[in-house]
């Protein structure tokens, strides 16, 4: 009927596993054939708090990866940080519980048709969807290097099995408690200048995405970033999650992170205007 939200389905998914991984929870949901519609970068919107909850809005989570197995059928994995009331509720759900979900939503990371040198950059648990992406890129013959950063080591999400899908993995923490001391953006300038990277895929805090865009500006390196903006609906009807983005004609439009994102072209996002309104009328 419409191109918007095509493939998105609203249904009950069963929690198949929920285990603590460091500061995060790894939650696996049974989603059956829906795995076929899910692409790296897509997200899921989950109803939280139960029927008598005062929380009326869904919570959006990046889909970490999807897989199919004989015993469980199609599954979707999420990495959730129990920060707020909604995510704490989700992390407290045990195996067998049915969750009301809408998925897959939003844009996906663009996958190159020919093998390229890809750099995947994750901040905190923003690394979660990058491991699924890495598998897809490896299958296409890409060289996949990964940089992960966080304020402290405990906030790094890097599962053992994920490390197999990358050629190299480097970790940076601001307090030096894991990997190297410093910010994850520091080595990127050199990699870009040396021509060692064709495409950067990033997911993490907006400050990190902006810093990467500033490095790739004026270079041939493509920067695909998964943005993060507070959203009420996740399906494009509330207009709260907008970001200023330049189109092909140089016009700035306030685009919805849920429909035109979360994966956006970092070069088109007008980072300096986030939280403002463009001065000239559109």
């Amino acid at each position: 009927m419409s191109d918007i939200n095509r493939g998105a389905t609203h249904f009950n998914a069963t929690v198949l596993a929920n285990k603590r991984v460091g500061q995060y929870h790894q939650i696996v949901l049974g989603i059956g054939d829906l795995v076929k519609s899910c692409r790296p970068g897509n997200f899921v919107a989950i109803k939280v708090g139960g029927d008598s909850s005062k929380l009326i809005l869904r919570r959006a989570f990046a889909i970490s990866r999807v897989s199919e197995s004989v015993s469980f059928g199609g599954t979707m994995e999420l990495i959730v940080a129990p920060h707020g009331t909604g995510s704490k509720w989700l992390c407290s759900q045990s195996e067998g519980v049915e969750l009301d979900i809408v998925a897959p939503l939003g844009t996906a990371f663009g996958i190159p048709t020919t093998p390229v040198n890809a750099l995947l950059v994750g901040g905190g648990y923003g690394s979660a969807p990058l491991f699924g992406l890495a598998e897809v890129l490896k299958a296409r013959g890409c060289k996949v290097d990964m940089l992960l950063g966080a304020s402290i080591g405990a906030k790094i999400y890097a599962p053992m099995e994920g490390k197999r899908s990358v050629n190299s993995l480097k970790i940076y923490t601001e307090d030096g408690s894991m990997g190297e001391l410093g910010r994850v953006t520091e080595p990127i300038t050199r990699l870009v200048e040396n021509g060692e990277v064709d495409v950067i895929y990033s997911c993490g805090p907006m400050g990190m995405l902006r810093a990467i865009s500033e490095i790739t500006n004026g270079t041939d390196v493509v920067h695909q970033c998964a943005v993060e903006e507070a959203m009420a609906c996740g399906i494009g009807i509330c207009m709260t999650c907008v970001l200023p983005v330049k189109d092909e004609n140089g016009q700035i439009a306030m685009l919805r992170s849920c429909i035109d994102g979360p994966v956006m072209d970092g070069a088109q996002v007008q980072w300096h205007l986030v939280g403002q309104i463009p001065e000239v009328a559109p």
């Binding site: 609203h10 005062k54 929380l55 507070a230 009807i237 207009m239 709260t240 309104i277 559109p282």
Partner: protein, 312 residues
Amino acid sequence: MSNFDFSTTLGNAFFNTPIFTASGCASSGKELAQFFPLNEIGAVVTKSVMNKPRYGRPTPRMAETPSGMLNSIGLQGPGIDAFLAKDVPWLVEQKSRVIVSIAGETVEEYATLARKVRSVAGISALEVNISCPNVENRGLVFACDPEASRRVIDGVRKTIGGEIPIIAKLSPDVTNLPAIAQGVVEAGADCLALINTVLGMVINLDSMRPHLGGKTGGLSGPAIKPVAVRAIYQVHSALPQVPILGMGGVASGRDALELILAGASGVSVGTASFGNPHAVIDIQSELRELLITKGFPSLKSAIGYAHRQEEV
């Protein structure tokens, strides 16, 4: 059950069912069409559109509150010309009933919008949103001023003639709502939409400043349902002959029935769609079941039923 008459009318417009989307909560329908056929509900009420394209207010535009949320969108939109050229024809193609909602900064802008809407086929009614709380100057909220409200509706009425009904969308943030309702009806409104969001604010405890980019926002969701029921009851009491399109925190068939018993001829579902993309269609089935269970032969027989005289 098959004899049950679920239809309703707003002015001279007929609708198969009394459940609509709410302006600003369904964009122009495309996003929800993935979840249910738009032609199965009463009508799609499109997001209030202004004459020119508009960026709206800065982010953050949203804050969740207990059983509700604040929004501060500020009427972001494509402008009436692009809207009428693209969005309305698409809805007509879906065989959806369409109610177009317009918003302006001046009396003249409303008249211009009405003139443009009049020239397009397939529109069942015109909602005149004179109560959007997310404008820079609160003095510009026409619906808070009886005289300004009248002037807007008068200008629209003169432009649109009698072809399609005019629905004036009012704010609950006033001292004497029935008086403002009376004024817009005298100026030519066929129907009233009650209620727009309630003005609110959230202070962020990290920044210790107002959380929303626009500082204030409109409160919606179940938290405001009693305000909607009160407003509809009050206005229906004062103007029983004027149809009311009710909205405000409706999240179930039971909620919709409350608004109908208070005096609403139709009910719009807004914020509930954010949490449940099937909300509009689910609420519609629940309401139908509930009316039949309660023994009403038709939707119309339930409108304003809470106002009936005490049985003796």
